[in-house]
Structure formats: C-alpha cells, structure tokens
Symmetry: C2
Subunit: 227 residues, 2 copies
DNA sequence: CGGGTGCTTGATACCGATCAACCCACGTGG
DNA sequence: CCACGTGGGTTGATCGGTATCAAGCACCCG
C-alpha cells in the first residue's frame, strides 16, 4: 500500500491520454511526467485535509476521490466526486497554496500526483500547459456553478433524473446504465442523504425507472425529462 | 442609457486598480484597455442570457450584477453576486464560448466590458495576463465550492452569521456594517427566500445582532461565531 | 449458519418555501 | 395637507421536502 512509484508503461498511456496533458509539446510532456508519481491507495485513504499545504496536483487514473468539507459538528458535505480522468487542486497552483477541502478515496484508487512546485514553474513558462490549466479550471468552475443551481432549484427526484439523463446516449428513448460507484456516494454527490436517494429512485419508478443493484433501466427518456 | 464609451480618466483609475489588471507590463495594459468599453446600465438590465454566445469578459466598476439560472418553471437561483472589482465570464475565454447563466444588473451599474476575441488572443500570448486569469478563476472556483458546502451544511441563521462575520474587521468583538445592497439580493446570494432571510436576522437578535434598514450591528462577535 | 455491509422502508421532526396579510417609508397628485 | 399607490420588508399560517432515527431486508462471505 501507498506504493509511490514512477509511472510504468501502462500508467504512461493512461497519463498521456488525460485532458491534463492536453496538446503539449514533447518536452513539456516529459517535464510533466518527471514531476509525476503514481500511487495505489486502498479505500478511504486521506490524500490531504482542509488546511494542509497543497503539495500536489492530482489526476485520478482509476477509482474515485471524494472532495468534501466538514462543519463544526463533524457533518460532511461532498463538494465534488472525481473519477478517472478528473483533475483536482489545479485551483491551488496560483492560489494561496492551502487546501480548502478534504480529499479521500472512496474505493481503492490509482492516482497520479504532480509535484506542485514543478507544476507551478511549468505553468509559469509553458503557454500550452497554462491553457490546459485554464480549460480545466473553467470546466470545473462551471460544473460547480451548475451544482449550486441544481441544489437550489431541483428536488431530489429531479436531481436524480438529471444525473441519469446526463449519462443517456444521444437520441435514444430507452437505455440502461450501471452506476459507477455506491449509491451512498452518489447521494453525497447530489447533496442528499442516502435515504433520500433511495426514495427518489422509487418515486422515479412512476416514470419508468427501475433499479436493480447498480443497474438503472430507463424505459421512457422523455417522461424522465418532464420531471 | 447604454452609453457605450471608451474609458475616461476616472474609469481608467478604476480599471487599472482591478485584480484583472494584476501586474501587467505597460503594453499589455494598453492592449487590455483598448479592448475595453465602459457601459452605464440602469437597474435590471440584462447583460446576456443563458445560451448566448459570450462576447465579452466583464468587470464591475460600480453597482452589482446578479448571475443566475432558471429552472423550467421559471424560478430563479442566484449563483453569484458580483460587486465592484469582481470579474465574470473569464471561464468562457477557454470554454465553449457559450454563456451558461443569465446576467442582470441588480441596481444601476457601471461595467467594463472586454472584447472576448481580443482577450483570448491576449491570454494566449501574455504570461502575466494568463496568470492573472488563472488566479481569478481559482478564486472564483474556490468561492463556488464554498458556496456548495455552505448550502449543504448550514442553516439560514448560520449562513447569515457567516456572511456577517466575513465582513468583520479583525480582532473586534463589536462592530456594525452597512449591507451593500437590498436584502432581497442578499437573500438570493445566500440561497434563501427573502422571508427566510428576515427570519434569520430576527433569530440572530438572540445573539446580539440588531438590524435597522441596511445597518447591522453586532454586539458580541464570539456569540455569533457559536451559531 | 452467523455476521457484516449497503440499501430500503417507515415514522417523525425540522427547516425553509410559499402564500397572504400587514407595515412602513416614500413619492405623487389632487 | 391628505389620499393614494408602490416597493421593500416583516410576520404569521401552512405545506412540502428532506434529514434523522430506527428497524428491517438482501446479499455476500467467512
């Protein structure tokens, strides 16, 4: 556990396919790779905590990472779930360098870490790389705004419907999907208690959504859109 | 109304004091200025709507701008309130170029608009400027994450207490402040109905918060922190 | 079989949205 | 000077949605 190794061939392929590597010049890619290490983490390991000095930018290669905050009573709220291909902590490259949230693996995960100091230097000097960072920040920012609006405008069944429809292949009116992680994690992502998610699913049965374990079947996409 | 003019001396001072101008080289500043125009807008004017092609990056010089979204029933949710010195739409410089929210002045406002096409070119080529953009994006992103966590973890009185304490001068245990805008706008910013804000204020009377119009007096900062 | 975990279901409580009435400050016009 | 309207804010009553607590269920694995 906590194997901290230089990338192997398999990881290299995963890494260079990331958005984070965008369209970079050969030597930039190499510098980026040299600042990277790959870690395999068991479920529920902490990557860092609120208040820590930010030492790395992270990319998820497999598994999921929960970014969350606590209130003084110790209740947790997930602010983002990062899956394969997602990047986090880019917002600290040019921020105050302090982590403003906690990060924990949801299940066992493989994660690429990029040394913050080197990343900063690279971002300062490489135009392509800083464009990549800006794109990533922009996407994440818009995602966060969307999340706020969803929280404020939508009920639990609507949030779930929205989530399901996001995964819907274009132009189909019936499909099925497999949830990529536990329902309790999905509940957190949607800002719900697990019980509320469960109830939301069962209320969606009325519009043709059936759930068996992680498999969700949708029989009428249009009906779902009306929720 | 809708005076669309090149910046005058007074505006120049306001502009170059902005974060957005960060620490830029002389000629970069000049290029930025040349892409700018200043508009004076009456209250409740739309700057753009969800789905529009993003034509500008904006800086608020005076007044306030509401960024908000609608659900299908027409209910509105504010996702951000921008005041003097705040910038918005930087997230569209390297995004898909489509506005993902509506923008409306809350009261009469003076706003600097920067032509998106020119900004893009500048961001591509100027390191200092792209660093400024990254800082701004990072700050806004962290603000959005904070907003999500607050929505999910805090009750109405807690949110209001949090807002008040944000304005508290360091190391004081009693102070007063003037709300910068209408309470209904503050309610929207905090994700509350106006009635809920009103009730939150009155519930905070118990910990020494008194409100007269826009003036809020806090007699015991520590008590407020316990909420 | 026993025990754990993740999920569902039920009962209840609480919070905040909503609707309606009212208040107050202000401005307008007779 | 007063009648009136208007807009922002407060207050009260009610409703709905979700959290919370508790119990039960399904499945997996030793």
């Amino acid at each position: 556990m906590n194997k901290d190794i230089k990338p192997g061939i398999k990881d290299l392929n995963a890494l260079t396919g990331l958005h984070f590597f965008g369209e970079l010049a050969e030597d930039t890619s190499m510098q980026l790779l040299q600042s990277a290490s790959i870690v395999n983490l068991p479920a529920r390991s902490m990557l860092f905590r609120n208040g820590d000095t930010a030492s790395h930018v992270y990319c998820v290669l497999s598994g999921y990472v929960r970014l969350y905050l606590l209130n003084k009573d110790g209740r947790e709220a997930d602010i983002r779930i990062c899956g394969p291909g997602d990047t986090f902590n880019e917002c600290l490259i040019f921020g105050d360098g302090i982590c403003h949230y906690n990060a924990q693996t949801a299940e066992s995960a493989t994660i690429a870490r990029f040394d913050m100091v080197r990343i900063r230097a690279l971002a300062e000097h490489d135009r392509d790389f800083s464009r990549t960072i800006m794109k990533s920040l922009s996407r994440n920012f818009l995602g966060a705004l969307d999340c706020i609006a969803n929280d404020r405008l939508q009920t639990a069944p609507q949030r779930v419907a929205h989530y399901i429809l996001d995964q819907c292949p274009r132009e189909s009116d019936a499909f099925s999907l497999r949830l990529p992680y536990q329902k309790s994690l999905l509940a957190g992502k949607l800002g719900l208690a697990p019980e509320a998610l469960s109830r939301a699913f069962s209320s969606l049965r009325a519009v043709g959504v059936t759930v068996h374990g992680r498999i969700v079947q949708v029989s009428d996409v249009n009906a779902l859109k009306q929720i």
